[in-house]
């Protein structure tokens, strides 16, 4: 999504839709696919409002991603386990930055001010931590895969 505010909007719209339609939910059926459908349709609806979205992701690609994601669920579960391990290895100052960004919901602008860095440098720093985490997860996937 081009802007995180869009994501928040879709999230809120989905939450309201889920809340309003909860009576229609058949508890004998799995909840997740039902909820996902809402999320997906809300996303499509939101996407129609934004021309930039169309450039980023057309409907065909969205369907492909959603379909592929469902096939990757076991792997993603495993990766989330490794994410915990990798996060524990992140140096304290980097972890503070991640906490500010992900838990405190601070904007990059605010984090930049608090760290005495430029906004661009802060984006880069966050990117580097995410990259490190990603590579760490990949490494663990490979090692555990080989040892399995």
């Amino acid at each position: 999504m081009p802007h995180s505010q869009d994501a928040q909007d879709v999230l809120q719209e989905t939450a309201i839709a889920l809340h309003n339609k909860i009576e229609d939910y058949d508890p004998t059926r799995p909840f997740a696919p039902w909820a996902f459908r809402f999320a997906y349709h809300m996303t499509l609806k939101h996407r129609e409002k934004s021309s930039r979205w169309h450039r980023f992701l057309d409907e065909e690609l969205m369907k492909e991603i959603a379909s592929r994601q469902s096939m990757l669920v076991p792997e993603l579960d495993q990766r989330r386990g490794y994410l915990k391990e990798c996060l524990a290895e992140v140096p304290k100052n980097k972890r503070v930055m991640l906490t500010d960004y992900y838990f405190e919901d601070e904007t990059v602008d605010v984090i930049a001010v608090s760290q005495g860095k430029s906004v661009e440098a802060t984006y880069k720093a966050l990117q580097r931590v995410r990259k490190t985490l990603m590579h760490c997860i990949e490494g663990k996937m490979q090692v555990r895969g080989l040892n399995a």
Partner: protein
């Protein structure tokens, strides 16, 4: 798909720009083309977004000061235990983040009911007793008690236990069972009702004579003193079988609440008609609490004794005190307005101004502990909740914890100042709880944020030899203007 060439660094930068909302139009087009060119690009994208989404929910990031500040339940001896993953909500977050393409999982915990997905990090128990009623005089269990693997017995009364995977167990004593893990319990005798959320499908309860595997449901079991079991499916479906049955009853059978008539033959252990008195009641859930995050854990009942040192735990505990209660007199509260406040004693202000970062100073409104922002008028119907954090065991060390609570109704006020908490105990405290009313209840540099919609409160507690508490007063009446705005 046509393979598009791009360097790995450039590709990773593109992914990062996508998740941080910094794609220019031309880069957005480039990403679109690349994603269409090769399935592995899509997989990379999904993995990256999933990691990003998971970080928003990662409890490790909610731990202020790092893992070394954690303390254990006072009464629970540590054992080695395997941590289980709470999969469902994370899958939801991931799928949602894919669907919304970037950061859709942002704050998901705020809107999804019961998303206590954090589990107990670094602790060795796998559940918590969230409610206990009418226990006998010699009852050794207590609200807030951690549940470990191994045998468990409740002599009398009713209790509710929440496992880390979200399974809620309602117990009616006497009941005895063995906890093998998050996904497996062996019941010896007694009555138990299990409500199993989607992420814990596959949860299994063995009794001496039957085996029940959940397929997304709520079911009740009772086992008599001869080891004979009766099963009733309250919602959804289970797979059950008799362990040593005759007439093929030892084959697994799907029993669905809505399709009981379709069963060729009703198994001998199935009780089709539900008698609520003979089973344990359905687990209850506090509908006022939409979600908790960070280090907050919610309890159904208030603990018996909250005096300093009597209710120590790893987490910030949240519990109801009085519900749907009409104030007999006006109630002064320290905070009523949305904003981020650092609640600080007069003597500590100078030190704060010296040591706080500019970021803190810009973000936080510094207020004195004795501030009273307003009064909730008499006759207002309210719900009162207390959050409690007591890590005083390791005296001399500072312990920090943060967490968030989202209520379905608006927050009318928050009381934090020790003397104000003392004064309000009688009016809105739980009548059967013993509160700390000496100096042990003290505000120490704590941060409280009330969200602009007044439904959410963020707490950052720091304790050093004392307990931190906040009393949150939530409206009880439905606001007609809110109903209108949701239409």
């Amino acid at each position: 798909m046509n393979k598009q060439l791009i360097g790995q660094d450039e590709w990773e930068e593109l992914l990062d720009k996508a998740i941080s909302g910094r794609l220019t139009d031309s880069k957005a087009k480039e990403l679109n083309t690349l994603l269409k060119s090769e399935q592995s690009r899509i997989d990379d994208y999904i993995r990256y977004v999933d990691m990003h989404g998971s970080l928003y929910q990662e409890p490790l990031l909610a731990v202020a000061g790092g893992a070394d500040t954690m303390v254990d339940f006072e009464t629970i001896k540590s054992v080695e235990a395997r941590k289980e993953t709470v999969r469902f909500w994370k899958r939801f977050a991931a799928a949602a983040s894919i669907a919304a393409l970037v950061a859709f999982s942002l704050n998901l915990w705020q809107v999804l009911p019961g998303s206590n997905s954090e589990g107990f990090e670094r602790a060795d128990y796998i559940g918590i007793m969230t409610g206990l009623k009418n226990g006998g005089a010699n009852e050794k269990h207590f609200v807030g008690q951690g549940l470990q693997r191994g045998p468990f017995r409740l002599e009398s009364g009713k209790a509710q236990v929440r496992l880390d995977n979200g399974v809620e167990l309602s117990l009616r004593g006497p009941v005895e069972f063995d906890v093998f893990g998050l996904d497996h319990i062996a019941m010896v005798t007694g009555r138990m009702t299990a409500k199993v959320p989607p992420q814990a499908i596959g949860f299994r309860i063995d009794t001496p004579d039957i085996e029940v595997v959940d397929l997304g449901t709520e079911f009740a079991l009772k086992v008599d003193s001869f080891g004979k079991s009766r099963l009733h499916v309250l919602e959804g479906e289970v797979e059950a079988r008799l362990k040593d049955g005759l007439n093929n009853e030892n084959y697994p059978l799907i029993i669905a609440k809505d399709r009981l008539e379709e069963l060729d033959r009703s198994p001998s252990y199935l009780e089709k008609v539900y008698d609520p008195v003979s089973f344990a009641p359905s687990p209850v859930r506090d509908e006022l609490i939409l979600a908790t995050g960070g280090m907050v854990h919610s309890l159904q009942d208030a603990p018996r004794d909250l005096r300093h040192g009597r209710f120590k735990h790893d987490y910030i505990m949240l519990f109801p005190e009085r519900l749907d209660y009409e104030l007999s007199e006006s109630l002064p509260v320290n905070l009523t307005e949305p904003g981020t406040y650092r609640f600080i004693s007069k003597s500590a202000i100078e030190n704060y101004l010296k040591t706080a970062t500019d970021k803190q100073k810009n973000r936080e409104k510094l207020v004195e502990s004795s501030l009273v922002q307003g009064e909730i008028p008499a006759s207002t119907k309210v719900n009162s909740y207390l959050v409690h954090f007591d890590a005083s065991e390791k005296r001399g060390k500072i312990h920090k914890a943060r967490g968030r609570i989202r209520f379905s109704k608006r927050i009318l006020g928050v009381i934090l100042h020790g003397p104000d908490l003392n004064d309000s105990d009688v009016l809105v405290g739980n009548p059967s709880t013993v509160y700390e009313n000496n100096t042990g209840r003290r505000t120490e540099d704590d941060v409280v944020r009330i969200s602009s919609d007044r439904h959410q409160v963020f707490l950052q507690f720091k304790v050093n030899g004392f307990i931190d508490q906040a009393r949150i007063i939530v409206e009880a009446d439905i606001d007609p203007s809110e109903l209108a705005s949701n239409d």
